[in-house]
């Protein structure tokens, strides 16, 4: 802990319209520390998928300001209660996001690799199902220029495997 950032900075959640720098976010979490053994970063990116209605040109992310940050903070607290984390960060974008850009970033730091991996997966699984964000496709060839993305049953399953009561 000696020269690490104060505990309050080691854990944070953020919602922003701007692109994030996954690399810098991860670097700051362990920077100057000598007690971290494992850092896991997950970046979820917008993919340029193509359907019968043509290519996706962007995703529009709508969110519930205030609740989004609160819910992300609750998910982070739940992860801290389950694993020995030294730091964790969630950055989620809103607004228009084009293919190739990052949508969400999760970073976890722990003395042990198993905890860092598990916590990162847990955070992503719960973000998918409980953070109040909604994606709408921008697909110029589609009816109404694109539809709301539907929630996947597989995402619910992924979140459920961590057990009830989370987040």
């Amino acid at each position: 802990m000696a020269d690490g950032p104060p505990a309050s900075d080691a854990f944070s959640v953020r919602v922003q319209a701007d692109a994030f720098d996954a690399t810098r976010e991860a670097a700051t979490l362990a920077h100057g520390r000598t007690d971290v053994g494992a850092v896991v970063t997950f970046t979820g990116l917008c993919r340029a998928d193509e359907t019968a209605d043509g290519p996706l040109t962007a995703l529009h992310l709508e969110h519930y300001p205030g609740m989004a940050e609160a819910e992300m903070g609750r998910i982070l607290d739940e992860a801290r209660a389950r694993w020995p984390l030294q730091g964790a960060r969630i950055v989620h974008r809103h607004g228009r996001i084009v293919p190739g850009e990052g949508i969400v970033l999760v970073v976890t730091a722990s003395p042990h690799r198993g905890a860092a991996f598990a916590a990162a997966e847990f955070l992503m699984d719960w973000l998918k199902t409980s953070a109040p964000f909604w994606k709408k496709e921008e697909r110029p060839g589609a009816p109404d220029d694109g539809a709301w993305v539907e929630a996947k049953a597989t995402d619910d399953d992924a979140a459920e495997r961590w057990g009830a009561g989370a987040a």
């Binding site: 992310l61 709508e62 519930y64 609740m67 819910e71 992503m124 998918k128 109040p132 964000f133 909604w134």
Partner: protein, 83 residues
């Protein structure tokens, strides 16, 4: 009581938020959804399938049977697709 709508519920209702004053027999979140649906028009369209509508009371997820009991802000939205 302030009601917020998100994603396609917002589009169907045609409002991002509104102030409502439901009658005394509207006790739960599900009661409120039914009462809003009964208004017809965009509201009826938004709430036509209650099984796909999620809700939050004062920015916390709740089940349909949650009592409104003094909540200041109720939000309705489809299943989340963030991450």
């Amino acid at each position: 009581m302030k009601v917020l709508y998100f994603a396609w519920l917002r589009e169907r209702v045609g409002l991002t938020e509104e102030e409502v004053d439901p009658p005394a027999d509207v006790h739960t979140v599900a009661d409120l959804a039914r009462w809003l649906q009964a208004r017809g028009g965009g509201h009826a369209h938004a709430f036509e399938n209650p099984a796909v509508v999620r809700a939050a009371l004062d920015r916390r997820h709740v089940k349909p049977d949650a009592p409104l009991a003094g909540a200041r802000e109720v939000a309705f939205f489809p299943p989340m697709t963030g991450g």
